[in-house]
Subunit: 378 residues, 2 copies
């Protein structure tokens, strides 16, 4: 299994990115990812009930078919809290792209990220689509990965290559997010591409397993976005013997896990105002779910996060956060170990004496810079 | 009904406060509140499972009897996460005070606030008890209300007087808390005294009703303390015809509500680093519980609170917070109105189109000063 800290598109995929004028800064704001053949899609969305329009559309399309040919993403506008007009805007985007690519609109995934409660400038997107499509290339991933960003300070990308039989399989992922949240409430998007031939149920199961321990284990401030999306396309171009639940599934999960975890950690490392990357591991819990609840309770405690920022070993704040998580954990059931706070990466180990399960979550400290970024944005 | 923004002890109560040496600053750190006759007690404690030692002791005593004669409070040390030794320290405190007052130890409520996971210097407390008792007086409330404070910038106090028949009843409350949380994780304590003659079940019901809409409706950062306590004593010295659930109960609740709400709001007004006091009202909900969940979700959103600090009208952050609260509220069910952010008091009105219930919660903004206070404390 080879790991590359760079996005390298798998066989049969092309991409592109450009500036269509949504961002006033003139930065890239429209990305397109295409598979030359229809690919199996597996998608996971935010559980926020104020679902953004493109997510409503994607859910409707996914009910009709699971074969997708393209993902189009705009940054700078979330197309959320925009009512029926916003839903129509997302649909118009899908239709325009489908027409240009010669595929059906239900095979297009539309994705948006940026400010909430503002109409999407859909005419700008329609106008840009022909150029976006005509310049598609393998190298275009380098523009696409930039065009999905908002306040991110760096690109999140990774590629893993491994063999199934004598065929080389590639899984490539790109993501955006400055720590679950961003000044525009833009938050987290991840797109993962593979040329593996894999059964739909195996793809769905692999993605949900990997997301559970990666994107669902990161938090910056507990604020849940309206647009969070993890979308994966598998186009089968590697020509491998089909991966099934009973055939090379664990190998595929292992590779996908590397991709998801690296992207998730990268998002936390780009958290707004962050000075420390914090890993919180809980072991000895009754279940991995219990371990995760306890770990997230600490990871979302403002008191704990400011203490880490101040390099202040205030042990009581960890205890109080675990005690408040609703699991009834008692003081005689817990031991806490914290690494040096002087370093850039901080490790918190919480040992419970309740069982054998464990979980790890990732977060950042809460800093003066975080307040400045989020207070001063307008 | 007369309201005094000052603590005036009801008939039959005395108090005192002194510095026994727990706080290195030399400030007052030991308070005593006494009733000359045994009083009915009603107490509510934090739901944090890492219960501080004095709360464990109080719960055990309250199982044996509901008649209390005294409340002793130390500030500067929470006596939490201190194991059996800490529990013993709390018991020794109760025993020493009971002996000095000539009452049984189960009639003493011990309360602590301050840093977690440090042994209580119980010898200092024992040594101070004789002097604390000998100087008890009605005026002593002015020292007691100072001795319960930690990082508070001001005293929280109120008195309400009203008549039942031809008897004047007084309810007096004092509290501490710099917004649910404090650098030492010291958080919220409130002590309420009345000379009303009131049945135990009416007292319990009145207190839980009033706490639900006051102390349980405030948040600064969602961090739940290990020591939170609201303790009320009713000694019957006013000589009124006994208040029962069917006799003058609503009048009593009305007066107690004024006391609880004023103390709760004062805590938020003293929130660490605060520049704005924020009132969030949700109406049109299916139940008052639903309204409160939605309102607290906004009140605990770091993104919303930094936006208020920055006077940044980022409407989407309120929508996203309501959408994340787990109630499945959809965008077509919500309208939001926000008052001017330029003022010191900000009002957020959230209208849901789901029912007729409402709730109001109180919070403060999240500021640079909050981070400094909590990061730099050591």
């Amino acid at each position: 299994m080879k790991i590359f800290k760079k996005a390298i598109l798998p066989k049969g995929f092309k991409a592109n990115g450009l500036a269509c004028g949504i961002k006033r800064s003139g930065k890239l704001d429209l990305a397109l990812f295409c598979s030359q053949v229809n690919a199996k899609a597996s998608c996971l969305f935010t559980t926020n009930s104020m679902l953004a329009a493109p997510l409503k559309l994607a859910k409707a399309y996914l009910k009709k078919n699971k074969d997708f040919g393209a993902i189009i993403v705009n940054s700078g506008n979330a197309n959320c809290f925009t009512g029926n007009a916003g839903l129509k805007d997302a649909e118009v985007t899908a239709e325009a792209l489908a027409k240009e690519l010669g595929i059906k609109k239900e095979s297009v995934l539309v994705s948006s990220t940026g400010i909430i409660a503002r109409r999407l400038p859909v005419e700008k997107i329609k106008k840009a689509i022909p150029g976006l499509v005509s310049d598609l290339s393998e190298k275009g991933i380098d523009k696409a990965k930039l065009a999905i960003l908002t306040t991110d300070l760096f690109v999140k990308e990774i590629t893993v290559k491994f063999s199934v039989g004598n065929r080389l399989i590639t899984i490539c992922g790109v993501a955006k997010g400055a720590g679950m949240i961003a000044p525009n409430m833009a938050t987290m998007l991840a797109y993962i591409f593979t040329d593996a031939d894999i059964a739909q149920n195996a793809l769905d199961k692999a993605l949900s397993l990997c997301v559970k321990d990666s994107f669902n284990c990161i938090t910056v401030d507990g604020c849940m976005s309206t647009n969070d999306t993890v979308a994966m396309l598998a186009n089968g171009c590697a020509g491998n013997s089909r991966i099934e639940l009973h055939n090379n599934f664990n190998l595929f999960v292992k590779a996908l896990n590397i991709v998801c975890l690296e992207l998730a950690k990268s998002i936390v490392k780009d958290a707004e105002g962050k000075t420390k990357f914090i890993e919180i591991s809980v072991s000895g819990a009754k279940s991995s779910n219990e371990a995760k609840i306890a770990a997230l309770s600490v990871a979302n405690s403002n008191l704990f996060k400011t203490a880490v920022f101040g390099e202040n070993r205030n042990f009581g704040r960890i205890i109080a956060a675990v005690g408040s998580c609703g699991l009834g954990i008692k003081e005689e059931e817990i031991k806490v170990k914290v690494s040096s706070l002087k370093k850039k990466e901080v490790k918190v180990d919480i040992l419970l004496m309740r069982g054998k399960a464990n979980a790890t979550v990732y977060t950042a400290d809460l800093t003066l810079e975080y307040i400045k970024i989020n207070a001063e944005y307008n």
